[in-house]
């Protein structure tokens, strides 16, 4: 790949913007929040982030927000990822390696099915303020 200048990046964005405008984005507001504390980094959350981006690009899913957060108190099942999709329960997944990340996009986000064996319903007690 040739080295991109900021101008190349701007041109790329303009070309994608046209594509994006054509898509129907109504009612879709998907959030992926990846735990990126010391525990998340150590468990390889970076690979999960890369896999999420690859799969989102592959499925051409629009209106996805990807964020990073600190430790959710579930260090033993890092990498942890919270997924919010309209019409689906907000879900916290644990042990999200690259493969699971791809499964979350293709199953949870595209097909509306939960990815079994990776579900943790909520952050640990000392993290949640009630």
């Amino acid at each position: 790949m040739a080295k991109m200048t900021l101008e190349d990046l701007r041109t790329l964005r303009e070309s994608k913007k046209g594509e994006l405008d054509k898509r129907d984005t109504e009612g879709k507001d998907i959030h992926i929040i990846i735990g990126m504390g010391t525990c998340g980094i150590a468990a390889g959350a970076k690979d999960s982030l890369d896999a999420f981006l690859d799969e989102i690009e592959k499925h051409k899913i629009d209106n996805v927000t990807v964020k990073q957060t600190g430790c959710m108190g579930l260090c033993y099942v890092e990498p942890t990822v919270e997924v919010k999709v309209p019409g689906m329960p907000d879900t916290i997944y644990g042990n999200v390696d690259a493969k699971t990340a791809r499964d979350i996009v293709s199953e949870h986000i595209v097909n509306g099915k939960l990815v079994d064996k990776h579900i943790f319903d909520r952050p640990a007690k000392d993290i949640v303020k009630e």
Binding site: M1, A2, K3, M4, L6, D8, L9, R10, L12, R13, K16, L20, I32, M36, T38, I41, A42, G44, K46, L49, D50, F52, L53, I56, E57, I61, D62, V64, T65, V66, K67, Q68, G70, C71, G73, D126, I127
Partner: protein
């Protein structure tokens, strides 16, 4: 434990962001002798007493998670550096900012692999907040002798919000091309 030099960098960069820095400078300099990293910020800084406690793995300021008594970012880095007979320093001034430097000997058997620089940078750029992060990369290795400088504000200026997946995908491609260009002459 963290696997790559980039993991330590990302962890330590988060400290700067959480210290409320509006300006952060990151330098990665790689040459046949050393891998050197410098992180400078204008965050809240630390007193001498706080500096001592910052490197204690069983200390945290308790602001993020009250009741917890661990803070492993800096201690992990220090442990890895010491294993590989590298070097580190941490200087800070309360109210002014902090400077963290660490280095590994390039050929030491216990020096971790560099890891994915462009991926680490993408993650650093996408953290919430309105901070500037200036990244300087220098590489002198094999036939490679090159450098580049990137600013978060420039990329946000072109792409807008970096939490949008489409923007992230484009930013990732952009960052990767910088790193591929700089390391294209590196002898493997």
């Amino acid at each position: 434990m963290h696997a790559a030099v980039c993991d330590f960098i990302l962890d330590c960069l988060q400290n700067s962001i959480e210290a409320g820095a509006s300006e952060i400078g990151l330098l990665i300099d790689e040459n046949p002798e050393l891998i050197s990293v410098r992180i400078r910020d204008n965050g809240i800084g630390m007193t001498d007493e706080e500096l001592k406690r910052a490197v204690d793995p069983f200390y945290t300021d308790g602001l993020k998670h009250s009741g917890r008594k661990v803070g492993l970012g800096l201690p992990f880095m220090i442990q890895a550096v010491q294993l590989a007979e590298g070097d580190w320093s941490l200087d800070s001034e309360k109210g002014r900012g902090t400077e963290l430097c660490f280095s590994f000997k390039s050929e030491h058997v216990d020096t971790p692999p560099m890891g994915d620089i462009s991926g680490m940078l993408l993650q650093a750029f996408m953290f919430d907040g309105n901070f500037e992060l200036e990244f300087e990369r220098r590489l002198r290795k094999g036939k490679a002798n090159d450098s580049y400088i990137l600013k978060r504000s420039e990329i946000v200026g072109v792409l807008g919000d970096l939490n949008d997946a489409d923007s992230l995908i484009m930013a990732r491609q952009f960052l990767k091309s910088q790193e591929e260009d700089v390391s294209s002459n590196e002898d493997v």
